[in-house]
Subunit: 592 residues, 2 copies
């Protein structure tokens, strides 16, 4: 059995690269220290290994069923989720007065990562529930907070996001669910919601649905959308759970992977008795929901990287143990076979996985550090802008490249990798969801180039460039990193020029031309950012006189792989973007 994780992969990023221990000396996180953070991660690793990992294959083999009355999931799932809450992780990021630990996001994300490695579809409930609580904390009134936050933090209630409808997936402007004001200040909701993860189950005492809907006479499109809290069961003022609210399960979606996360079609107000509570201001629903959505998008990237990481460790161990074939040119068939890892093409596939997934992890830690800096009041406006720019990348890049890593993990295992005897095929199936949900990667590309880049005259990218420049300057000082620094400098220059060209196209009014290769721009920006984060990791290792150990050599090898084999992909993307390559645009629909 493969070890769940290599702890130094986490502590290196958390402390050596992103300096999370320094957070403990801020006013915001006063009284904390690295020993505390390590203890949290020790517990997370243990609960993940003991309660989450053992049931991952079982959840996959036994997808949720519904008999018309009840949704059934393996009992091990409920036990695993309970173990998470019993260990106090539900309140990890919340204030102490709420019973929380008030930990930095960098630390709670590292802890969440461990649950995602162990069992991604189980951990989805935790992510949704924590994000629901964060949203309520930000936007709900005190009465709703008092009633719903405590049970969401201790896992008695779970949360959901109800955005999509069958006719409105990527196009949220087209949702039809209605919310009609009632005399008592509540609302009555009517409508069907699609793709609702965790929409119905017996895992928690109650479910808190956050639902986008339109009030009567609301403006058309996204400007008329409001946000409502809809509990599965009514809750009395004293917190006692009452009768069922009018939320009906219509059916389950049957997925290729991610099967432990029940995915549902829900009907709100089948009896016109569905009670909801407005969260935030009227018609500000999408803005509120994006608070949750941005967190969810970063979490998607984290989950994708963790699936890739789990596959990497599995295939690495297999390649170290499995004896097959002989060195190239070895003529003697009676000589002993060598382990797979000795074959250079297998090592390429392992190194590529490492470069992708540890690059993706670094991206997640970068985002988490920005969240923490914002919480610590450090350059709040700038850090928010930077986080805005990085969010679509943090969602899409790992969901593409860590999936590639899972593909490579299967290939390393060969025929065995294609069977359920090993977990890599499951990881591949699970990870295929990540380029789709929480906004497809195509939507992320439009968000990045169409919205985040032009925002505030491109200041987000400028801030990114300044951060990168600082690491380039550092990297230029050391023999081992200067060629990476130089390559990144060149690519950053080309990226900036490419971006300027695109913004010129937009200013010229050619919106279709501006955005036609947004997809390539997202890959380009992602590779640039991940190259930077590999340089940042290398910088953290070469500075100093300490002897290089295997860990340091491995990091430098992966950095080298990324710069020598991956960064050169940027050239093609830059060319497509600069030349305005338009074969798709020129192709009429009926020609296909």
């Amino acid at each position: 059995m493969t070890a769940l994780l290599r702890r130094r992969d986490f502590s290196f990023l958390l402390y050596d690269v992103f300096g999370a221990d320094a957070l403990a000396s801020t006013t915001t996180f006063a009284g904390q220290d690295r020993a505390m953070y390590d203890a949290v991660l020790d517990t997370a690793e243990k609960v993940a290994a003991d309660a989450f990992a053992p049931c991952a294959a079982e959840l996959d083999a036994n997808e949720p069923t519904w008999d018309g009355e009840r949704v059934t999931l393996p009992a091990s799932l409920k036990a695993a989720l309970r173990a998470f809450y019993d260990a106090g992780f539900g309140g990890a990021s919340f204030a102490e007065e709420l019973g929380g630990m008030h930990l930095p996001y960098s630390v709670t994300q590292a802890a969440s990562s461990m649950f995602a490695i162990a069992n991604t579809s189980a951990s989805a409930y935790l992510m949704l529930t924590t994000a629901t609580a964060h949203l309520l904390q930000a936007f709900a009134n005190d009465a709703l907070k008092q009633r719903f936050l405590p049970p969401l933090l201790d896992g008695r209630y779970f949360g959901t996001m109800c955005l999509s409808e069958t006719q409105a997936g990527s196009s949220l402007a087209d949702i039809k669910t209605t919310a009609t004001p009632h005399d008592d200040g509540t609302y009555r909701l009517v409508g069907d919601k699609m793709w609702i993860s965790g929409g119905e189950h017996e895992l928690s005492d109650n479910i808190v649905h956050l639902v986008l809907a339109r009030t009567p006479d609301a403006p058309a499109g996204i400007k008329g959308i409001s946000l409502f809290l809809v509990p599965r069961f009514h809750v009395d003022d004293d917190g006692a759970i009452g009768a069922a609210n009018d939320v009906k399960l219509v059916g389950l979606n049957h997925k290729m992977g991610y099967r432990g996360t029940v995915n549902t079609v829900l009907r709100f107000g089948d009896q016109e008795q569905c009670v909801g509570f407005l969260v935030g201001e009227l018609h500000q629903g999408l803005r509120c929901m994006f608070h949750m959505m941005n967190e969810a998008r970063i979490s998607v990237g984290v989950g994708a990287s963790m699936l890739g990481y789990a596959g990497f460790l599995t295939s690495l161990q297999y390649a170290q143990e499995r004896q097959q074939g002989r060195p190239l040119g070895a003529k003697d068939p009676t000589s002993p076979q060598v382990p797979l890892v000795d074959h250079v093409d297998v090592r390429r596939m392992l190194l590529a996985q490492k470069a992708y997934v540890e690059g993706g992890m670094a991206l997640s830690f970068m985002c988490a550090r920005l969240v923490d800096d914002i919480a610590c009041d450090v350059d709040v406006d700038d850090n928010k802008l930077l986080l805005d720019v990085l969010t679509p990348i943090a969602k899409a890049w790992p969901s593409h490249y860590a999936l590639k890593a899972n593909d490579l993990a299967i290939q390393v295992l060969g025929g065995y990798g294609y069977t359920r005897e090993f977990p890599v095929e499951r990881m591949y199936r699970d990870n295929r969801l990540n380029p789709i949900h929480e906004g497809t990667n195509g939507i992320q590309a439009l968000d990045l180039l169409g919205r985040k880049v032009p925002s505030q005259h491109g200041r987000g990218l400028q801030l990114l460039g300044m951060r990168m420049q600082a690491d380039i300057n550092l990297g230029a000082k050391h023999d081992d990193t200067q060629r990476f620094a130089a390559a990144l400098q060149d690519e950053m220059q080309r990226f900036t020029e490419t971006t300027m060209g695109l913004l010129g196209t937009a200013q010229g009014g050619d919106i279709d031309g501006f955005l036609q290769n947004a997809h390539a721009y997202l890959h380009y920006a992602g590779h640039l950012v991940v190259a930077w984060l590999w340089l940042k990791q290398a910088n953290a290792l070469v500075d100093g006189e300490a002897a290089r150990d295997d860990f340091a050599h491995g990091k430098l090898a992966a950095c080298s792989f990324f710069f020598d084999r991956e960064l050169p992909r940027c050239e093609r993307w830059a060319r497509l973007l600069r030349e305005g390559e338009d074969s798709a645009r020129r192709c009429a629909a009926e020609w296909l």
Copy 2:
């Protein structure tokens, strides 16, 4: 429901590009004509649609089970396979005196393709059985042929390939199964075989296993391997099926996809009573098996392209029907939604699929035409060499890029694509096998660069270059194709130089350096060849005064896409190869 296929996609390649109708005027295929070929394809399309397509999802949902006595598969599978043989396809490529139709391989491959589109895991039995018959026809003695060919051709017997063992997957030199001569001229086999598709079932009256094994005192390694025919049930001289041979099912492998094809672990000679018959010369087993293997490798590529094609058609229809979102920059949320295909990024994903899968199809048809030319005694030595060079490409390129097409098909369907409500997730799972079996793509890369390219002083590649040059010269004459011709000319030049450089490294004795990026070389050669085949398709369309219809525009759009977005990938591969990029080689195993 999506139509199974678009017939013109086949007839264009078969007749317009590769001129299969001209085969009918050769001595070898005298008496045939295009009407006959079309009738064969009509029947194939009908049987595939009526018998194969309807049970594809059922086979996936009900993988084979084994109760210790019997392997159970859905009854619809047996009925589908029976329909294939009832329609006479079992003998399609065999001589008339064997009851066959003696059709060109180009035509039978087109027919097989249709079964693969409809139901890839069902069609695997057919491919294995036909290839078994081809091998026996080439190498078995008359007695074996008389006893086993007729029932293999009419589907009473099915065939298997038994190469791998648990300790010997890619490394066939390490097989341990033994075959001991018996007084009566037969052999007794003892050993376990792994990954045997169709190894045990009740779909046919008998199963003909082709088994690689070592005779006593045989040389070590591949030079000591011989090939044996091992029937599941003994067969009397008069063809009557007798008692069971000593072949025992040890277990089933449970796969991510391709589930209709039962995959087994077999034990030969558990009671030391397993009777086998030598096929071909002693110690020539691997050479004989490669007769079957090469056919299987080309078939893997065909199957991969067809899965990609099926996904392309499914996602195209979805994109034409599904209304979602509005044009970029459309401000009015009350305006009607547009079909997905109107979004440029969706059109990119569709066009990429078309470019990959129709490119892969062209590659298969090219190989089939070479097989036919060899059968017609046209430039036999040259065409064999060319086919040798193209075989690893024909196996690996579609299995990589048509899988990418399936990935894009899922993405076009979004959340729906991730569910079993649509077939694209199944196609993606099915296709993931293709880069693994019949020699992993890593093995194909070593075969291409390490064996096929250097063979006969590079004559195979020279022949390929001459064929390409002819189409470049043709393409250079027309306005619509000359830029493709020019781009291909340049890339061919770079490829040749890159290859010369690599061969220089090999001649210098640095075998590790020569082969370290064989993987990239395979991609490079594949993209070059497929670019050529897109030019060849374009040439077939622009020559003449006929008005361009949607089909022609679509082909030219896909050709343009391939040249403008795909061919530029070659630059990076060329650089890796020319610079001898060695990050994987430099990375010690313990650094990972």
